[in-house]
Symmetry: C2
Subunit: 197 residues, 2 copies
C-alpha cells in the first residue's frame, strides 16, 4: 500500500521536530508499506470492482505489523481522567508519553468520531501525538460503500484546527492501492488480516 498524502492537521509544540516522531512516523510508513494483496505479492493490487472489496483484512494487516514488528500495543483502552470514550486502535509509549493511532475503516461518520477521540486525547494531555490513517477517494471507490476517506473529511479540518490545544500533534496519512488489476480476487469480508501481511 502506498501513502499518497501526509499532512499535519494539528502541530502545537515541538513534537513534529522530535526524534520520537521521526521514529514513529517511520514505523507507521513501514507498516503501511507492508500491506500487500494478493498474498505473496510485493505491492497492493486491487480488483477495481466499485465498492467490491471488504475493508477489515486491510486494517488487520497493518495492525499486526505495528504490533509484531514495532512493539505497538493494539486496542488500547485510554483513560481520559473523567468519563472516557473507549479504545484507540494502536498506541506506542515514547519517553513515558503515549502516541495513538486510529486506522479508519469504518463509515465516514466514524472517521469524525476517530478524529474527535484523538483530539480529545491531545486536549486532555494523555497523548503527545496521534495519527489517523484513511483511504484516498480513489481507493474508497473500490471499498465498501461509505467508508471513511480523506476528501470527504477534509471540509471539516477547520474545526479541529480551531480546538484550543496546549501541546500536541495530529498527523493524517492517506493511503491508496499500488495497482489495479481485474484479475486479482476482491478482498472478501471477514478474511483474516494475516493473509495480507
Amino acid at each position: 500500500m502506498k501513502i499518497v498524502k501526509e499532512i499535519s492537521l494539528i502541530s502545537v509544540g515541538n513534537f513534529e521536530e522530535s526524534r520520537d516522531w521521526s521514529i514513529i512516523r517511520s514505523e507507521i510508513r513501514r507498516a503501511i508499506a507492508l500491506i500487500v494483496h494478493p498474498r505473496g505479492e510485493s505491492s497492493f493490487i486491487i480488483n477495481p470492482t466499485r465498492h467490491g472489496n471488504g475493508v477489515k483484512p486491510i486494517k488487520e494487516a497493518c495492525m499486526i505489523a505495528l504490533r509484531d514488528q514495532f512493539g505497538w500495543r493494539l486496542e488500547t483502552r485510554v483513560n481520559y481522567a473523567t468519563k472516557s470514550p473507549g479504545k484507540v486502535d494502536a498506541t506506542k509509549v515514547i519517553d513515558d508519553y503515549l502516541f495513538a493511532l486510529e486506522w479508519e475503516t469504518g463509515n465516514i461518520s466514524s472517521s469524525h468520531r476517530a478524529v474527535n477521540k484523538l483530539v480529545l486525547g491531545l486536549l486532555r494531555g494523555v497523548f503527545l501525538g496521534a495519527a489517523l490513517v484513511l483511504p484516498s477517494r480513489k481507493l474508497y471507490a473500490y471499498l465498501t460503500d461509505r467508508i471513511g476517506n480523506y476528501e470527504e473529511l477534509e471540509p471539516y479540518f477547520d474545526i479541529w484546527k480551531a480546538v484550543k490545544i496546549e501541546e500536541g500533534f495530529l498527523g493524517i496519512f492517506v493511503i491508496e492501492h499500488d495497482q489495479i488489476d481485474q484479475n486479482v480476487p476482491t478482498i472478501t469480508k471477514g478474511t483474516d488480516g494475516r493473509a495480507l501481511v
Copy 2:
C-alpha cells in the same frame, strides 16, 4: 415525546438571551411534543422490545411539524463559503441569520459528524445558532442498535467547548418516550413519518 434534558453546549454572545432564541426554542419544543405513537394517541408510547423500533418515522414526524406549522425549511444545503459539507436537517431564518437543527437518528458516529457540522457553521458564521436533538439512553435501548444517544456523546463535549467560536449558540435537546406498553406496535422501518404526527 418528552424532553428530559436541555443543555447549552456552546453559548458565546447574546443569542441565548435573545427573543429569537425564545421563539425558536419554543417551536422546537412544540414540534417534539407533537410526536405521538401509536397514531391518534396523545403521547408517545413505545413497545419496550430491545432495539425493536425503527427510527425513521420518528424524525419525519418532527420535521414535518417544523415545516408545516412553524415554517422551517428542511434539508437545507448550507454554503460554508469554501468546501462545504452537505445539508442540515432543518433551518429557520431569523433576522437574516440562519438557525440550524440536526435531528440525530443515525449511528452514534453520525452524531459526531452532526455536531461537527453545526460547530463548523458557527465557526464560519453561517449559523447564529444551532440545535441537536437526540434520544436519551433509555429511549435508545428500544430503538435500532447503535443509534446516537446523549450519554454516549457526552464524553466528547469538551472538544466542542474548546473550539474557538467568536459568536454562536449550540443547544442540545434530549428526547424520550412518554410511556412504555408491550401492547403497542413496534415502529416499523420505512413507515411514513406522517403517521406519527
